[in-house]
Symmetry: C2
Subunit: 238 residues, 2 copies
DNA sequence: TGTTGCCTTCTTGTCTGACAATATGATAGC
DNA sequence: GCTATCATATTGTCAGACAAGAAGGCAACA
């Protein structure tokens, strides 16, 4: 029986309509397809996703709770915009978490787990030479997952996930700044080295440095983007 | 016009059914009226709150996103229980945030704002002599609000709020341990002193110490409670 | 031109009722 | 005591309805 259950569970948890819809819209927001400021109109979402208003509304509540959209009064939900201050705060808290993760990883990871980290890092470096942003983003995610998995901190995993979702768009944009990628990678390299030498303090410090730079790049990016359009936009597609 | 808007806004944001319901249920969870493990049955919530299933379900999505309830598969939502590990993680992250808050408060608060902090603290001490838990909890909240307001960190305010909601019940329980309150207050006193001397580092350290103690008390509490009942319970009332 | 007020239309907030699919709980059989 | 089976309870999803508030356009007016 358990074997059968296992096989069936490969299909994943039962696909709820609202879950799928949530993921679709979330991904569209993360990718920037649904740009910050876009109005999300229930009826249009129903059409676009082929689901009922009830399900759309449940999904909206969740997007709202995760701060991916903002809802006020009886107005249409709007894809969240980021003020400079908000972005800075997110990067600051993210830095706290990542420093903690790195420090703990350095303390407790097995040699094999550190080796795995380097493997992923080398893949990032490889992808960077090809300037394949999508690949890099995916690898960065794997890198984070590995860290979180080893450190085994559910809460930070959760919160970091939420924070990253909110700045995903910004991060990707910032990554395209000339020289940014190279800097980022050399920083990562320094972190990795410190980890391999089991120097948690240095690793955490290097991480903090890297975070600060990422924040600066992101804020710079916001300055360039942010001055423009601030009016609500119409939703186009998902 | 803005004056008028201000006056009218005293009426608060339009009272949405789902919002009120959310607050009612959340408060019931925070207070322990809805104990961890309790099944939340839609129809019963409808009856208890006098609202429709649609609204109940939207509220449930939000409670779920804030981790106050857990929903899996097609089963009834259940008021979240805390494992030891989860509680420890929450206290750990909370400590990070509060240290940061205290450090920054010490750096930037005006003398008047520090004085206000002491005023609140003295009120806490006063309430403590009367052993009036409710009053203490309310004052502690005010204390936190003051900190967050001065430091002006929206994100930490938000996250801290969520984390505190998840452990509220545990905190209150732990506070009743013999001697716990006194310890807690003398720790607070030390923090306040450091703040008044504008010694951010010492203040943050004292805060960290206080957090660690709070965590230990809470985990101890969990040991005592936690061993018992773990089966889902029926919902009683709100 | 720019503003004000009104009217139409769009959109959200909420309720009701329905139905299939799954979970739960009780009952009977071993 | 344990397991299989069935009736009931509960969730997931949809469709449709209606009131109340928001958005946008248009005309009158200063």
């Amino acid at each position: 029986m358990s074997v059968l259950a296992d096989k069936l569970s490969l299909l994943g948890p039962p696909v709820l309509v609202r879950e799928q819809a949530f993921e679709q819209v979330r991904d569209a927001i993360l990718a920037g397809t649904l740009a910050p400021g876009t109005r999300l109109i229930e009826r249009e979402l129903c059409l676009a996703l082929g689901i009922s208003r009830a399900s759309v509304r449940e999904m909206i509540r969740r997007l709202e709770a995760e701060r991916l959209i903002r809802v006020e009064g009886r107005k249409s939900p709007v894809v969240s915009t980021l003020t400079r201050k908000q972005a800075a705060e997110i990067y600051e808290v993210r830095a706290l978490f990542e420093s903690l993760l790195i420090r703990r990883f350095t303390d407790i990871a097995s040699d094999a787990e550190i080796a795995e980290l380097r493997t992923i890092f080398e893949a990032v470096r490889e992808a960077a030479t090809k300037n394949s942003i999508n690949e890099i983003v995916a690898l960065m995610r794997r890198l984070n997952e590995h860290l979180v998995h080893v450190v085994d901190h559910e809460l930070i995993e959760d919160l970091l996930g939420q924070l990253n979702a909110r700045i995903n768009w910004l991060r990707v944009k910032a990554m395209t700044q000339p020289g940014r990628l190279e800097t980022s990678i050399s920083e990562l390299s320094a972190i990795l080295e410190a980890i391999e030498q089991r120097d948690a303090e240095r690793a955490a410090l290097a991480m903090a440095q890297s975070s600060a730079n990422a924040r600066n790049a992101a804020l710079e990016q916001l300055l360039m983007e942010g001055s423009g359009e601030r009016q609500p936009k119409k939703m186009r597609s998902i």
